[in-house]
Symmetry: C2
Subunit: 208 residues, 2 copies
């Protein structure tokens, strides 16, 4: 069964998944890069951390992201020459749906990634992503606001949170404004390593 | 040097250190008991978790707590026959200062615990606790609101947070309304076990 998953959602101990003041120099907000150092430690990631980090590579056929994850541009797309943070060969390698209020033609990148721009809401984006993924899973890439919208709507089957021992103090919280959406989730997995704690939340309807 | 410490502050993955609707039946709020199961697992606590759990027993000469941690009574003390949640021999064994707006005579318990009621604020309570503790440390027992007040005022030297893989969804957050107080803290220790992650925040002025 095709599931909706979010992988490697790295959260500071004080609850933030991105720092404040995202910009072209700070795609993850001020201080936000430290959230992902567990994936890129000196000497390379290994063991349990590596196993978790690699899960996003397996069985995912489409990704959805918010426009802030796609780029630093706000409002209209202007000249339309922004092609994402990731260079010409982004790490998705499948159709990738960007939520926006501003229509834009699809952008085909190298390596199988095509960015599609969806202007009619999160459910429409999910339907298109499921179509594109077929039997494979759909990943919610982020950022925080997009993920919270899908959580609030009860549309995420599997959420992998990585609790990172840093303090950000400001930024984008993960667990905020979710109403009672989390009442439908259980902790399905908890594995701690020297660097972080991996916690996986699974929706009660979800058969793994 | 005498330090101000908070021990075993157990926080759900979604950031709460107590559940909602504290009452005489639910001293830690609805669902809040699950925060402390790591201290009382079947078979008893052991290893790293036991070592952390026991730190509060060592070198502490006074405790400060909010009135909600002392009891479920709100407003005035009424008949004054409430003597805390812990029975006749509370686990503090030293002078214990309860923050309240309502004066009350000290209550002497068995085992060395005397509850003193402080009506003139957190700094006064801390001064009295330091006096009582002498060379020993002062513990901020909780609850969340009291701890946040001391953090906001920059008065906590050492905060031991235990991230517990449960979801509470509602209740008392730890990291909220702290302004920039956390800018003065560093992560001094991070140790994960099968059950929880221990994270220790230490103030930048603090010499351990």
């Amino acid at each position: 069964m095709s599931l909706v998953r979010a992988f490697n959602i790295s959260m500071s101990v004080d609850g933030f998944v991105a720092g404040p003041d995202q910009s072209i120099d700070h795609p993850l907000g001020l201080g936000g890069e430290a959230l992902h150092e567990w994936v890129f430690p000196p000497g390379g990631v290994s063991g349990t951390d590596a196993e978790f980090a690699a899960r996003r590579e397996r069985g995912v056929g489409a990704t959805i992201m918010g426009r802030n994850m796609f780029g630093p541009i706000r409002g209209g797309w202007g000249e339309g020459d922004w092609r994402g943070w990731w260079g010409e060969d982004p790490p998705f390698h499948h159709p990738t749906f960007v939520l926006t209020h501003h229509p834009q033609e699809p952008i085909e990148m190298a390596g199988g990634t095509t960015f599609h721009f969806v202007t009619d809401g999160i459910e429409s984006a999910l339907a298109r992503a499921h179509d594109a993924a077929g039997e494979a899973d759909v990943a919610i890439g982020g950022g925080a606001s997009t993920l919270r919208q899908y959580l609030r709507a009860g549309l995420v089957d599997d959420l992998h949170v990585v609790v990172v021992p840093i303090l950000l103090r400001h930024g984008e919280p993960l667990f905020a404004d979710l109403g009672d959406a989390l009442a439908d989730y259980r902790i399905a997995e908890h594995v701690a390593t020297d660097r972080v704690s991996h916690v996986r939340l699974v929706h009660s309807r979800t058969v793994e």
